[in-house]
Structures are given as structure tokens and as C-alpha cells.
């Protein structure tokens, strides 16, 4: 079991605050996602958990024990680095064996674990090659195998499948989710792809310049974002943030009204105009101009509107999100 907790952790590099008073607890066996725009501190959080960096203030607890004075080797956590960090002078097999050899695991056991990891990641046929001879996707598999081969208390993965193209990435994330279930270990997973984060995570944390803005299950964050910032990061196409007067039924005290594209209701009428139509197969995305503001609507099925067409828009008040002057969610 491994429960990993941050208590008010701050990490600075010179003048940049990479992690700013972060507090969260990752439960044992949880698939926990760190999500946020570039340079928001995702990698730094992983490095702090590994013990490669020490916090300037605050405390990190693993299974309720402070780990400030525990070195990276003793923490028994496996990591897939953002740049993979394979050993270029070793073959794929030597790379994967490395963690076990260094821990003096008997040869018979190493063989068994190696075969197991290679089978799981389908890399049996490339074990004799050096990293330079592998494709990007194969390298990622080798890096993941190197982490999976031993039995750590937790896995950390820093955007491990970003080098794959979209379709392979979809397959890979399903597979990763399965691997994590089978291993029965905590997995802290970094990604910059909101869809990936939402599809795999049990819970996710949204980061903003080193600060944690919201933690929760993906669907909960999607449905009840606590700020305009969080609302904007999740969902594709992104949420529409509109001035309050635009949609009938919006609260008057809101500074911004958020409405997801799939919640925008469109019918023939007046008050708005279609400026763009993107047919995407199962659904259609309309770009709409209304009172100088631009918004997008996502409709089921084939396009029923043409550019230039005059329409009326609306939304159910319970689907609207109301944000105050600081972007905070207004209490209902």
C-alpha cells in the first residue's frame, strides 16, 4: 500500500515558484492525474515525490511517514521520465533488467520478471536493440517496462505516451489503465491532454502556476468546476465564457456565464448568426456570433444550419455556470 500526501509543499527555483503550497492526498491504488498547462509544476511534483528535489517548506508523507530524509533509491517508487531517460549504451533488455540487477534480485527471478514485463508491453521482439534503433513508441514501451519490471509501491509517469499519434494514444491509455489495475499500485500520471486525463483518472488535480486549483473525479470537475480556469481547461471544444446578458435566464450578479458547447440550444430565429460549420461525423460544431461575442455549439448529427443563417440561442439555466469577478464559482 502506498498513500502519498503533500502537506502545504512549496518548491522554488530562484524566483519561480514551481509548486506553491500544494496539499493533496493520493489514496492507495488510485489512478491520480496531474493536469495543467505547460510549466505549471507537474514534473516538479513528481520529482518531489521521488526525492530528486526537496521541498522548501511543507512536508511529503508516504504512508503517513515523512520522507524528507529518505533518498530516491529507498523510496521504492518507479518513474517514467518525460524524456524517457533510457540508458543509451544498453540494449532494451539491459535497460529493463537494470532496476532488478541493481537490487541484486536473483537471475532466475529477473528472467521471469523480464519476460512478464516484455509480454505485457509487447516488446519481446525488440529486446536486443539499443534505444537509438527503436521508434518513439517502442522507446516509450521500454521505458514503461523498466518501471513495471520491479514491484514498487507506486508508479509515476510523466506524460509517458505523448510521442504516439492520436489513435495509438487512445489504445495506450486503455492499456495503461488495465496495467495499473492489474498491478494494484498507486499511479500518479501527468498529462497535458485533457481527454486523456479525464478518460483514465480516478481523480485528478488541476494545476495553475504551481497552485492546485481543484481536485476531484473528472466528471465532478467537468460538471462543477470551482473556477472559470478549471472550466476552461476541461472539455473540447472548450466551454463558452460569455457576458451575463447574452443568454436568457442567467444570473444578474455573475461576471461571466459559462456554458458548455453541448448545452447550447440552437433553433431558427433571430439574435445570433452562424459564422462557421464544422461537420465532425456524429456531431456538428457551430461557431456563432451573438451581440459581438463568439461562442460554439455542439449539436448531434449532420449540419442543419448554414453559415450566415440567422438563429436564436438559449440554454437551460441549470446547465449554466456562474463565475464572479475573480473567476470563482458563485454559490448557488
Amino acid at each position: 500500500m502506498a498513500e502519498i500526501a503533500f502537506v502545504n509543499v512549496t518548491k522554488r527555483y530562484g524566483n519561480t515558484v514551481a509548486v506553491d503550497g500544494a496539499s493533496f492526498t493520493v489514496a492507495d491504488n488510485e489512478f491520480f492525474c496531474l493536469f495543467g498547462p505547460p510549466l505549471c509544476g507537474k514534473t516538479t511534483i513528481l520529482r518531489l515525490i521521488l526525492g530528486l528535489e526537496t521541498p522548501d517548506s511543507g512536508e511529503i508523507l508516504i504512508d503517513d511517514r515523512p520522507v524528507t530524509h529518505v533518498g530516491p533509491a529507498e523510496r521504492n517508487i518507479a518513474m517514467v521520465f518525460q524524456n524517457l531517460a533510457l540508458f543509451p549504451h544498453m540494449t532494451a533488455e539491459q535497460n529493463i533488467r537494470f532496476p532488478l540487477v541493481e537490487r541484486r534480485v536473483p537471475e532466475a527471478r529477473i528472467r521471469e520478471r523480464l519476460a512478464h514485463a516484455a509480454a505485457k508491453l509487447h516488446i519481446g521482439h525488440i529486446l536486443h536493440k539499443h534505444p537509438a534503433q527503436l521508434s518513439g513508441g517502442e522507446r516509450q514501451r521500454v521505458a514503461i517496462a523498466r518501471a513495471l519490471v520491479r514491484d514498487p509501491i507506486a508508479f509515476l509517469m510523466d506524460d509517458p505516451i505523448s510521442a504516439l499519434d492520436a489513435r495509438l494514444r487512445e489504445e495506450a491509455r486503455v492499456e495503461l489503465k488495465r496495467l495499473q489495475r492489474e498491478a494494484g499500485r498507486t499511479l500518479i500520471y501527468v498529462t497535458h491532454d485533457q481527454e486523456e486525463a479525464m478518460s483514465v483518472a480516478d481523480r485528478m488535480a488541476i494545476l495553475d502556476h504551481g497552485r492546485i486549483r481543484q481536485i476531484g473525479a473528472p466528471v465532478a470537475l467537468y460538471d462543477r468546476p470551482n473556477s472559470a480556469y478549471v472550466a476552461q481547461l476541461l472539455g473540447s471544444p472548450p466551454i463558452n465564457l460569455l457576458p451575463p446578458g447574452l443568454l436568457p435566464g442567467a444570473r444578474a450578479d455573475a461576471v461571466q456565464v459559462g456554458i458548455r458547447p453541448e448545452d447550447v440550444e440552437v433553433r431558427p430565429g433571430a439574435g445570433a448568426r452562424v459564422t462557421g460549420v464544422e461537420p465532425l461525423g456524429g456531431y456538428t460544431v457551430l461557431t456563432i456570433e451573438a451581440q459581438g461575442a463568439s461562442l460554439r455549439a455542439m449539436l448531434r448529427g449532420q449540419p442543419a444550419y448554414a453559415p450566415g443563417q440567422s438563429i436564436a440561442i438559449g440554454a437551460a439555466p441549470e446547465r449554466m455556470h456562474f463565475f464572479g469577478p475573480e473567476g470563482e464559482r458563485l454559490a448557488s
Binding site: L52, A78, P88, F98
Partner: protein, 286 residues
């Protein structure tokens, strides 16, 4: 893009000229090395590229095996100077590379000794000759005069900045995550260095070693000041190759020059394999 024939012609002419400037002295040395006394002596000089009567006499002469009546036998053979050069240059290179690599690693990874780079540049700001007089006095005090180890020590000190700077750039370019991966996987710092860093640094180490060795190998002035008879190196010994009867012994000098070119060439061939290897190619994404 096609260049005009004239430009093409000029280009080849320029290349030819550069090659000639580089090769002519070397070829001339090779030629003389195999000429008998009569052919290389100033008196009998009619210049030919190919020796009319090629001989190994010059080489034999260097090692005291000559039976020629034309020149006086050498007082000292070339054996010891060759040994002196090999010892001083090799151990000097070893000192510079060991200390330089360690310093570069410490600075690159842990920021230890942040003023070191400047201090080492300062060591190169003036010619080594400027400090040779104090060094001579010190070396005399330490009984290091005219010893190969004394020479190796000063070689190590003089070439240390080169070793340091070369290795520092290589260490700086190596992504820290590779070492950190080993650290996370259970290695101690020392094991990370031995099992990951050093093997990855083979190519840079090889090229830096070759560079430093050639610097040490070709030194003349330092050895001239710090050695006299016992451990004179090849260049110092070469300068003494003359006799009152025949003047400069060009044949023997050329032969010795040819011998002196062998170690760097062998070293170069040995490590060439590593020189072409990329540093971290394949370790990272993309």
C-alpha cells in the same frame, strides 16, 4: 545548385594547396628518413622525393646499431627519450583527464566550486613559459627535475584546463534525467557515475584524451627546461641530434620524427570508433 566550372576549378585548387601545405613537410620527412647519409647530407644534396638508395640505416643509427663509417656513433640512443616521452605524456594525460573529468562532473552536477572555471581560464591566460622559472625552482626543491614523473605532473597541470572545459561541456549536455533514472532505480551516486555516466561518456572521453595526449606529446619547451639527460623527451633529444663533423643529423631526425608520429596515430585509430558515436542519441524522445 550548380556552380560555374571556374569556381569549381578554384575550389579544387584551393583544396589542393591546403593539402600540399599540410603534406609536403610530412612527405619530405618520410623521404629523408629512408635516405642514406650521402643523400641527406647538405653536401650531397640533389633533391629527390624517392630515395635512390632506400635504407633503414637512419633507424638503426638511432638505436646504436649502425655500422656506417660516415658518421660518429651516438652517445645516447633514442630508446630512453622514447620511453620518457611515452611515460610523461601518458601519465600527464592521465592526471589531466582524471582531475579534469572529476572537476567537470562535480561542477556540472552539483555546482561545486563555482569559481573553478574562471580560475582554470586564468591558467591559460598567460603562456606556460611565463611560470616555468618558478616551477623549475620548485621542481628542483622537490627533486622532480629531470624525472619523467616531474614532467608528467607539470603536463597534467598545464593541460588540466583543456580536459576540464571539454568534459564540462559534455557533462552539461547530458540530460540529468538519465542519471536520475539510475538513482531512482536503486543506484548509489558512485554506481551511477561508473555504470551510466562513464559508459555514456566514452566518446567525449576518447576525444578529449586524444586531444590532451597530443598536446603533451608535442611539447618541447617545458621538457627542455625540466629535463636534461636522464629523461629528456623525444623533441629535446631530437634537438641534440647533431655532430661537429656532419652538422645536423637530418636523416636521424627524420627517422625519429617518423617514430614520434606513431603513438598519436595509433591512439587516434584505436579511439576513432568512439569518436563518431553520438552522445545520447536514442536515449530521449523524438
Amino acid at each position: 545548385m550548380t556552380r560555374s566550372p571556374l569556381i569549381e576549378l578554384l575550389r579544387y585548387a584551393a583544396i589542393l594547396l591546403a593539402v600540399a601545405i599540410t603534406l609536403v613537410p610530412i612527405l619530405w620527412m618520410v623521404s629523408i628518413a629512408f635516405k642514406p647519409v650521402a643523400e641527406w647530407q647538405a653536401a650531397g644534396a640533389d633533391l629527390t622525393w624517392i630515395p635512390r638508395d632506400p635504407t633503414l640505416e637512419n633507424f638503426r643509427y638511432l638505436f646504436g646499431r649502425s655500422d656506417s663509417a660516415l658518421i660518429v656513433a651516438l652517445e645516447r640512443t633514442a630508446t630512453r627519450p622514447i620511453l620518457a616521452s611515452i611515460l610523461a605524456a601518458s601519465f600527464g594525460t592521465l592526471i589531466a583527464m582524471t582531475a579534469g573529468t572529476a572537476a567537470a562532473y562535480g561542477l556540472s552536477r552539483f555546482g561545486a566550486g563555482a569559481n573553478l572555471p574562471l580560475a582554470l581560464i586564468q591558467l591559460r591566460l598567460f603562456p606556460p613559459m611565463a611560470v616555468m622559472i618558478p616551477v623549475m625552482i620548485m621542481w628542483a626543491f622537490l627533486s622532480l627535475m629531470d624525472t619523467w614523473w616531474g614532467l608528467a605532473l607539470i603536463y597534467g597541470i598545464v593541460t588540466l584546463p583543456f580536459a576540464f572545459w571539454l568534459m564540462k561541456t559534455f557533462f552539461d549536455d547530458m540530460p540529468r534525467e538519465i542519471e536520475e533514472a539510475a538513482l531512482v532505480e536503486g543506484c548509489t551516486r558512485l554506481r551511477v557515475f561508473l555504470k551510466v555516466t562513464l559508459p555514456m561518456m566514452r566518446a567525449p572521453l576518447a576525444s578529449a584524451t586524444l586531444f590532451v595526449f597530443i598536446l603533451n606529446w608535442s611539447d618541447y619547451l617545458v621538457a627542455l627546461l625540466l629535463t636534461t639527460r636522464q629523461w629528456a623527451t623525444i623533441p629535446v633529444y631530437m634537438a641534440s641530434l647533431s655532430s661537429s663533423m656532419t652538422g645536423q643529423l637530418y636523416g636521424a631526425k627524420a627517422a625519429l620524427g617518423l617514430i614520434a608520429a606513431v603513438p598519436p596515430v595509433i591512439l587516434g585509430i584505436l579511439i576513432q570508433r568512439h569518436l563518431v558515436r553520438g552522445l545520447t542519441f536514442g536515449a530521449l524522445k523524438q
